[in-house]
Amino acid sequence: MMNAQSNSLTTQNIGQTTLPGFHNPVFDATAVFRTVLEAMSHPGTVIETPLTCESPRKLNSSAASILLALTDMDTTVWLSPKTECSDVADYLRFHTGCSLTNNADHCDFAIINGQEDPDLVTSLPIGTAEYPDRSATLIITVDHFNAELKAVLSGPGIKTTSNLSPAPLNSKFWGWMKANRNTFPCGIDIIFASPTHICALPRSSEMDI
C-alpha cells in the first residue's frame, strides 16, 4: 500500500480519510456557495445548509461543507485547539488539498468552536487599509441559533434589523465581534455553522447587544 507521506506532492501530508466528500462536487459546491453568499448578503438570517456531509466528529456538517466548497490548494486553514485533530486535518487535506497552519496570523480560513476563547483568534489577519480583502474568514461551530442573548444587527444586507443568536457561544465573543466592526473596512467575516444551518456576520454589520 502506498504511503501517503512518501508520496506527498506538497510539503504536507496529503491526508487519508474514509469519509466521503461531496457526492456531486460541481453542483454541491455551487449549492453550498449560494447558501453562504445568501447568508453573507443577509447578515443574521439563519439559512438551512442545502446538504449534509459525513464530517469528522469535531467539525459539523455545515462547517465541513463550507470548507469543501471554498478551500483548495490556494488556501491555508487554521484549526482551533478544539477542532484540531488528525481526523479533521486528514479530511480537509484529502478532499480539498488545502494546507493547514498553526499560525492563526497566516490563514485564509479559521475554524473555532463557539465555546472556545476568542483570544485564540485575535491574531487572525484583518487585511490592510489598501487591501482589506486580505483577511481571514472565521467559521464558528455552534449547536443552534436559539440563544437567549440576541444581538441586534443593522447595516448592509439588512432591511431594518435582524437578530443574531448562536449558541453555545463563549460570552467573550460578543465584545470581540463588536470590536471587529470598529476596524472596518478591515476585519474578519464570520460564518456561524450549526449542524444544519448557517448564519453570517460580515464585518460591515453594526451590532447592538
Binding site: N24, F27, T30, L37, A129, E130, P132, P156, P202, R203
Partner: protein, 306 residues
C-alpha cells in the same frame, strides 16, 4: 449527471472548479466590504475583453442548474451581446433562460438596470469596463488604492465641480460615481445616471465583474447607495419631453431611434421586456404610434442627447 449531456466537453458553466472557488472567495469578500474592489485572477474567456468577460465569470460562478438567467445589453434582450451570452450559458450550463425580469433569478446586464423593481433573492450581475471611479483622475493604481484607503475623495468632487463651472450643471450622465454605505466611492459601471436611484436600498444582490481589470465588487441588498452631488447642485436624473412611442411609458429610460436621413427619430423604452410587457398588459394601448406618427416628433431636444 444529465446536466452535462449538452456540454460534455466543458466543465459545468465553462469555468473549472478551482477558478470558481477563487471567484467565490472574492465574491464573499466583496459582499462583506460593500463597494470595495476585490482583485481576482480573471481568466481568459471565449470572447474578447470588453464584451462582458467579467460579468460572464461572475455569472458562471454563481449559477446552478435551478437558476433562470436573463441577459440584457443596454436594457434589451435582443442585442448581439445579450443573445451571445444567453446562448453561451444555455450551451455550457444547460440553464433555463428568460426575457422576463420577474422570472429571472440571475440577471446579467450591460449598462442598464431593469425598470421593474428587483426582488429579494435575485442577483444582478454587471459587466464593468473600468471599475476604478478615480482612474481618469489618477492613473496610478498604487495611488487610487491609497485614496480609497484614506477615504480621500476630494478629487472626485473637484471633477464634478469643474463640470458645473464649465457647463453650469454636473455633465456626467453615465458611470455617475456613487458612495456605498457611506464609505467607498464606486463606479456603478456605465449605466445611465437614471439608474443610480435603483441601486439604493435595492432588494436584490448586485455583483460587479471587470474581466480585463480583474476586479470584483458588490452591493449587498438594502444598502445605502448615494450619488455624489452638492447641496446647491443636487443629483438629478435624465428626463424626456415625451413618452415611449411604443408603450407610452412616462417614467422609463428612453432610447433615441433614428428613422431616416431627414432628421426623423422616435424615442422608445431601452428596457425591451418592460416595454413589451406594458404593451401586452394594456387592453387598449395608450397611443398606437406608427412609425409615421413617431416621425412627426422631431422637434425634440431631449436630455437624452446630453
Amino acid at each position: 449527471m444529465s446536466q452535462n449531456t449538452t456540454a460534455s466537453s466543458y466543465n459545468y458553466a465553462y469555468l473549472d472548479e478551482q477558478t470558481k472557488r477563487m471567484i467565490r472567495r472574492a465574491l464573499l469578500k466583496a459582499v462583506a466590504i460593500p463597494g470595495y474592489q476585490v482583485p481576482f485572477a480573471g481568466r481568459e474567456m471565449p470572447m474578447p475583453y470588453g464584451w462582458g468577460t467579467g460579468g460572464v465569470q461572475v455569472t458562471a460562478t454563481v449559477i446552478g442548474p435551478s437558476d433562470t438567467l436573463k441577459v440584457i445589453d443596454q436594457g434589451s434582450d435582443d442585442t448581439t451581446n445579450a443573445v451571445s451570452i444567453r446562448q453561451f450559458f444555455e450551451k455550457t450550463a444547460d440553464i433555463d433562460t428568460t426575457e422576463k425580469t420577474k422570472e429571472a433569478t440571475v440577471i446579467q446586464t450591460r449598462h442598464r438596470i431593469p425598470e421593474e423593481a428587483l426582488t429579494e433573492g435575485q442577483i444582478l450581475v454587471y459587466q464593468v469596463p473600468i471599475p476604478e471611479p478615480l482612474r481618469f483622475l489618477e492613473p496610478r493604481e498604487t495611488e487610487t488604492r491609497k485614496m480609497h484607503a484614506l477615504e480621500e475623495y476630494g478629487l472626485m468632487h473637484v471633477k464634478l465641480y469643474e463640470d458645473i463651472s464649465r457647463h453650469g450643471h454636473i455633465a456626467t450622465t453615465y458611470a455617475y460615481p456613487v458612495k456605498v454605505n457611506g464609505r467607498y466611492v464606486m463606479d456603478p459601471s456605465p449605466t445611465p445616471k437614471f439608474d443610480n436611484p435603483k441601486m439604493d436600498n435595492c432588494a436584490a444582490l448586485q455583483l460587479f465583474g471587470a474581466g480585463r481589470e480583474k476586479r470584483i465588487y458588490a452591493i449587498p441588498p438594502y444598502t445605502k447607495v448615494q450619488s455624489l452631488d452638492f447641496e446647491d447642485h443636487p443629483f438629478e436624473i435624465q428626463s424626456w419631453d415625451q413618452d415611449c412611442a411604443l408603450c407610452g411609458s412616462t417614467d422609463s429610460f428612453l432610447d433615441e431611434v433614428i428613422l431616416d436621413d431627414k432628421g426623423n427619430r422616435m424615442f422608445v423604452c431601452s428596457d425591451s421586456d418592460y416595454c413589451q410587457s406594458r404593451r401586452d398588459d394594456s387592453i387598449s394601448p395608450p397611443v398606437e404610434h406608427s412609425l409615421a406618427q413617431a416621425s412627426q416628433m422631431q422637434s425634440v431636444n431631449s436630455e437624452a442627447s446630453k
